[in-house]
Amino acid sequence: MRCGMGIEARQVNELFINIDPIQAGGRLTADAMKAVIAYGDGYSVCDNCRKPNRLDYISKPPIAEFHRDVAAWLNMDSVRTVPGARRGFQAVANTYIKKGDPVLLTSLSHYTEFLAIEETGGIAREIPHDPAHKITADATAMKIEEVMREFGRVPVLAFIDHVDYQYGNMHDVKAIAKVAHQYDIPVLYNGAYTVGILPVDGTDLGVDFVVGSGHKSMAAPAPSGVLAATKERSAEVFRTTTIEGDVTKRKFGIKEPEMMGCTLMGATLIGMMASFPHVKERVKHFDRELENNRMVLEALLSVSGTKILSEYPRNHTLTRVDTIASFDSVAESHKKRGFYFSGALEEKGIVGVIPGATKVWKFNTYGATTKQAAFLADAFVTIATDNGLILNK
């Protein structure tokens, strides 16, 4: 079935259990799907835009209220919607980093944080992770001291991921932010895998900025996200335009340069708004998600040779596993090589594992029902036994 010339209707989430590590938290709620149907046209949320003509002031649909609610929910002073977390990183980077400035991030940071720094001419310096793939406050202090020796000054900004994309490990942002603030370094909390998944309190964490991803973790269409700031930092990153045309003498009101005026003007914003009440509720039940994840991991660990590379027990549902001594050992002699594994999963109605991957791979059980988690667990064990792998007693 096609929904346009050459465009197949996508039915991945209707036909399969999808454990793709980056797709799990971005699946739309029913309300978001309905809102997108009604607000698909380009400037659909702008019908009632009145002076001062800025997205976050529109009251119908209740965009202004949504901004206030998200700020309160994150316990921050103000929020803007952005076209993806990366645009939040970019806005903050553009505000604080000048050419040649050292900037702190981590050895597990997402590439878009590097690109945000690169665009400003800043110099990236990574806090190394420990042997357990965790970023610690001690390592942060050591890296800041190292940067001071190298540059003669402290980093101008720190990007810290609460849960990293590589291992899904949870890092002690509160302790890291405390150290960074002792050196007067503002901290950007990257909540791409947490905002909309589990409770996030920016004030309690002691961070200057909270960035979330709508399409990764807030059940919203792409590209969408949020950038929240403290009152002090809001005045800097959300400063208003001062430019004036020399011929026309035009000025541009209260538009914000870092937001390029208005940001999400249609289906992306309305989708995020429609999902928001459900997202607020679901973060309260993250323990259920961890329980489903545990069920699947126990099944994987029952296959002899399988290792969990992420921290264990898990604090997040995004998990990295090593199956070199289990599923990969079958690939060596299988006629389909490594593709037998993803093929067998797909035959059972499971997608999201990179085709051909049998050595080290990631998956995310977020959003699966308990029945679906049990189905996943059984599928992994069945594929193992079907291929002659040994189960631990």
Binding site: E14, L15, F16, M33, K34, I37, G349, T369, Q372
Partner: protein
């Protein structure tokens, strides 16, 4: 009425997502699906009447 029918279909779509891949509906889901399908039939009938009058 167009939106109502589309939204009913959306609710059915969500049931498909929640029961993938085998779509074995439990009693509650069966009752919900039946109610939605009944609504959809009524909504399509109304739509037919409104659009072709």
């Amino acid at each position: 009425m167009t939106f109502q029918a589309l939204y009913t279909l959306t609710d059915l779509r969500v049931i498909l997502r929640e029961t993938a891949p085998n779509h074995m509906l439990d009693e509650t889901q069966r009752a919900q699906a039946l109610r939605l399908l009944d609504n959809l039939e009524r909504q399509v009938a109304s739509l037919k009447q409104e659009m072709l009058k």
